[in-house]
């Protein structure tokens, strides 16, 4: 049996969350993990800490405290300004070895997964990817990670006996973020780093990051499948009227009708809108997991036998190319009446 670099007998009873930074602050998934970590820590009386890496991060630690962190371990260095796997994994590794937390949680984002995969091997510990829920086994204070089994239907519960930290990743949108309370303050602990340029093997030749859409928490999601025949303009009009965004199944994304970041489902986004409107979508399991958290699901499909109707609250059998334009008209007419 391989041992991890530190084990259960050396762990400190704390949960660490990797704080991913986006243009406008902490990433949504980091806030979601803070909320989940806070809940577990409150039950056990443990400390909740965030790991924040970057350069000139300003108010971000304060944002973490406001969402419920007790501590922020801060690695601030010009060489951490942009994510490179070498610098980030080295800084994270040193911080983890210094603090020896029991649990380390990361968002299942491109960078979060890269970092998690590297660190788990470096620490010789286990990693549960894409967990659908996390909780503590009250008997022995071990983390239980729930992961969805192949094909859905069953969930596997996975634990680690000796190895620490207990690592897990969770996709954006799976947990809900907590309330912001600016009165909360915590302690910033600087990480001592000896990063040098030669550690970094990855050269960034070009980087282009636009606004990006976040479909995890839009009020209304208008999703189109193969049945809309690429007509996402029509769906866009409907989404706009309802103050929502458009999403899609995988085929229209693969065919280039819509950006990949709008794909909903197992390999896309898990969305929790108030209302999800599924247009011309058959209802494959891979898609349905992405809308399970919607308050209300409406499905429009020409095939009365389509499986999507099993996952919908309101079912409309009909041609999307007729129903959707008529719906747009009905909604715009109502609007004019209510304005006039």
């Amino acid at each position: 049996m391989v041992s991890s670099l530190y084990g259960i007998d050396q762990e400190r009873k704390s949960i660490w969350v990797y704080l991913e930074v986006e243009a406008d602050g902490l990433a949504g998934v980091s806030l979601e993990l803070i909320a989940k970590g806070r809940q577990i820590c409150n039950q056990l009386g443990w400390q909740l800490a965030g790991l924040l890496l970057g350069h000139k991060l300003g108010e971000l630690a304060a944002e973490g405290f406001a969402y419920g962190l007790d501590e922020v371990w801060l690695g601030d260095d010009p060489l951490l300004e942009y994510f490179t796997i070498e610098a980030y994994s080295k800084a994270a590794f040193e911080a983890l070895m210094a603090a020896k937390p029991s649990v380390f949680l990361l968002g299942a984002t491109p960078n979060g997964r890269d970092l998690a995969g590297r660190l788990a091997v470096r620490l010789r510990t286990g990693l549960n990817a894409d967990c659908t829920d996390l909780y503590m086994n009250p008997r022995d204070e071990r983390l239980v990670c729930e992961v969805s089994g192949f094909g859905g239907g069953v969930l596997a519960l996975i634990e680690m006996a000796q190895h620490r930290p207990q690592m897990a990743t969770v996709r954006p949108g799976v947990f809900s973020p907590g309330e912001l309370d600016r009165k909360n303050v915590g302690k910033i602990i600087p990480i001592s780093l000896d990063l040098t340029e030669d550690v970094i093997k990855t050269r960034t030749v070009e980087r282009s990051i636009g606004e990006g859409v976040d479909l995890t928490r839009v009020p209304v999601l208008v999703a189109g499948g193969r049945g809309v025949d690429g007509d996402f303009n029509m769906l866009g009009q409907l989404a706009q009227l309802l103050g929502g965004e458009i999403g899609a199944t995988r085929p229209p994304v693969d065919e280039g009708h819509i950006e990949r970041e709008r794909q909903i489902g197992q390999t896309g986004v898990v969305s929790s809108p108030k209302v999800a409107i599924c247009c011309g979508i058959s209802g494959a399991f891979h898609f349905v997991v992405g809308i399970e958290k919607a308050d209300i699901v409406i499905a429009i499909n020409s095939d009365p036998e389509a499986p999507i109707f099993d996952y919908a609250d309101y079912c409309i059998v009909g041609d999307v190319h007729q129903i959707v334009p008529a719906l747009i008209e009905a909604l715009s007419a109502e609007r004019e009446v209510s304005i006039g």
Partner: protein, 267 residues
């Protein structure tokens, strides 16, 4: 210039739509499910083949799994690869990410002098994308994940690729050797070349290595080498929906739907 040595990590998985869950035990029933190459690995295969088309070189398929992986791997070989290494030993069973990556890396070391290791984005029954960075860590080499395309400079010995990230992309360059994971659906995998079929079925095209051949530490492989333990199974919560079919003429249905939306969304 030595020819480019490419390894593609390929897993064989049961077809998801053919897996049943036993209603009594809630265990996965995969005995009747047919196997296929993990679909994202087909995109890695295609990227390897287009690399070989452009730069020449040799493609080895590497897979850890039971002997029944063989027929699917031979079909993949007939797409235009050169050899199959199947890491197969009952002692490898039950491996989680740590043990899987260790075992694959022992295979990569034994193949030797590898320049590029290509993986799929994730395995449909697996650890979801944690194998590629794990391989890179054991080998202490760079990684480029989620690439949609890649080019190799054989003189400078670098790989450069486009990586998809939230809201955009980045173009990254690393020295060889490196691990690359390929964005699912970023290319159209080619069909197998029927002319290569009988060649691909020849005995010598496939090498099987067991734990002894790999000099694998017994404590690092299979269930023993896996820190994570499955302690239980639970039924996925199923969200009961209303399943109410709106009735009437198309006009009536649309009006009713507009009413529901107005109430729920406050347009």
């Amino acid at each position: 210039m030595a020819e480019l040595q490419i390894v593609v990590c390929v897993k064989v998985v049961p077809k998801p739509e053919e897996i049943r869950v036993d209603p009594e035990t809630h265990l996965l029933e995969r005995t009747n499910a047919r196997s296929e190459i993990n679909p994202p690995d087909m995109n890695a295969m295609e990227m390897a083949l287009s690399m070989k088309d452009r730069y020449g070189g040799r493609i080895s398929l590497l897979s850890m799994g039971p002997p029944f992986f063989e027929p699917n791997l031979r079909v993949a070989l007939a797409m235009g690869a050169d050899h199959i290494y199947l890491l197969s030993d009952p002692a490898f069973a039950g491996a989680d990410t740590l043990a899987t990556t260790y075992t694959l890396v022992q295979g990569i070391r034994k193949i030797g002098d590898v320049d590029v290791i290509l993986c799929g984005e994730e395995s449909s029954d697996g650890a979801t994308g944690q194998v590629p960075p794990g391989l890179a860590e054991w080998l202490n080499i760079p990684q480029l994940t989620l690439l949609t395309d890649v080019s190799i400079d054989q003189t400078l010995r670098t790989a450069r690729g486009r990586r998809e990230i939230k809201g955009g992309y980045e173009i990254l360059e690393v020295p060889l050797p490196c691990v690359i994971s390929v964005k699912t659906a970023c290319n159209e995998p080619r069909f197998m070349d029927y002319r290569l079929r009988s060649w691909a079925l020849e005995k010598d095209r496939l090498t099987v290595w067991d734990a002894g051949d790999l000099d694998a530490e017994p404590g690092h492989i299979g269930l023993t080498g896996s820190p994570t333990i499955v302690t239980g199974l639970a039924e996925a919560p199923y969200r009961e929906r209303r399943r109410e079919f709106l009735q009437g003429s198309p006009g009536e249905v649309v009006q009713e739907l507009a009413g529901i939306l107005r109430k729920e969304v406050e347009v």
